[in-house]
Amino acid sequence: MQENDARAARQARFNRLVGEHRADLFRYAFWLSRDAALAEDVVQDAMLRAWKSLDSLRDDEAAKPWLLTIVRRENARFFERKRLETVDIDELVGAPTLDVSTEDNTDRQDLREAIFRLDADYREPLAMQILLGFSTKEIAEVMDLTTAAVLTRLHRARKQLIQDFDLGEEQP
C-alpha cells in the first residue's frame, strides 16, 4: 500500500511538472530540429528520461530548465544515431520542410519560413527567449555560453529576420 501511495505521488508530481511544459517543449524541440515527427519522438523520449530521473530534481522551480536540458540531449542523441547509421553525409538529415501550418494566415506562415531559415545557433536562443520566456542568463546556462554570446546571437537573429522578412508591416 505504501509503495502504491509513493508511486501515485510520484506520478502526480510528474504530471504537474511535465504536463505544464509539454506543449512548449514540443515547440522548442520542433524549432531545434525543424521536424514535427522527430520533435514528437524527442519529447516522448525526454518525458521517459525525466520520469526516470525525477528524484534528482530537488527544486520544482527548476523543472523548466531541467526539462529543456533533457530535450536538448535527446535531440542530440537522435542526430548522433542518424550520423552513425548513414554513410552519405547528404542523407544525414533530409531537407527539413515546414509542414505544421494549416492556417490561412500567410503572414504567420511567411514568418515561420523565415525563422526556419535561420541558423540553428540563432534559432535556438530565440525560441528559448520568446517561446519559453528564458532570460539571457538562463539561456547562457542551458547552452553553456557567455551572456555576451547569447546577446550577440539574439541580436543577429532578429537582425536577419528583419532583413529577410523586410520588416514589412503585417498585411491586413
Partner: protein, 251 residues
Amino acid sequence: MLAEPTVADDARDEHLQRCAECAAFAARVLRLEHRLAGALSVPVPESLLGAMPDMPDLDEQPGGDVISLGDARRDPDPPARGRFGGPLAQYWGLAAGLLVAIVAVVLLRPSPTVTGDPGQLLAEAVFEHVGPELFAMKPASTAVPAARLDAVVPSELASMDAGVGLVSYARSCEINGRVVPHLVVQGERGPVTVLLLPEEPLERPVQLHRDGLDVVVFPVGDGGSVALIGRGQESVDAVRSRAEGGISWTT
C-alpha cells in the same frame, strides 16, 4: 534593442522619448516580437495534449542519465561530505548492493528460455523494448495523423494496408541498433503493439509469453519480420491474420 526588446532599460527608454526615429524603430521591433511569438507557437500534436500518460514502473537501478546540471546549482542542501558518510561511500555501498542483487538473481532465477536461437533472441529483445512503452498500449479510438504515420512508416520502407487496423500510436524506436517503426494497432480484442523489422530475418514464427504479455514474431517478405505484442494470445491472433497479409517491404 534587438537582443532583448522587452527587457526594461531606463537609458534606452529615455533616449526613445527624445528620438522619434528610434522610437518608431522600437515600436516596429515590438510589433515583430508579437508576430514572432505567434509564429513560434506551432500546433502541438494530440499525443502531447490532454491527459498525461501513466508512466511505467521504474527499474530498481537509478536512471542511467540523471539530469542534475541546473538543479545541482540550486541545491540548497548539498550532501554532507564526512569521512565515512560522503557520497563516495554511498556509491560504493550502492555498487556492493547491486552486485549482491545480480549474483542472487543469476543463482536463483529459473532456467531462461533463451537458448541462443536467433528467433528467441529477437523475441526477447522485442519484449524488453516494449516494457517502458506499455503506457501506449491502451484502448483508443483516435488514429494518429496520416502525416505522422507516413513519417514513421515511410513509403520507401514498408507498405501497410489500412485493413491492419486503426493505428493509435506511432513512433520510431531502436531495436538491435536499428531504427524501426513502433505502432499500436487497435484490434478487436484490445490494443496490440506492432514492430516492423525489415532487417530482422526469421526462418519461422517465434512466440513468447511473459509477465502477462504475449509476443509473436513472424517472417515477412525477404529478410524481414514483424513482431506483435499484446495482453493475451487472442488479442495478438486477432491482429496477426491481417498483419501477415497487409504488411510488405518496399526497400
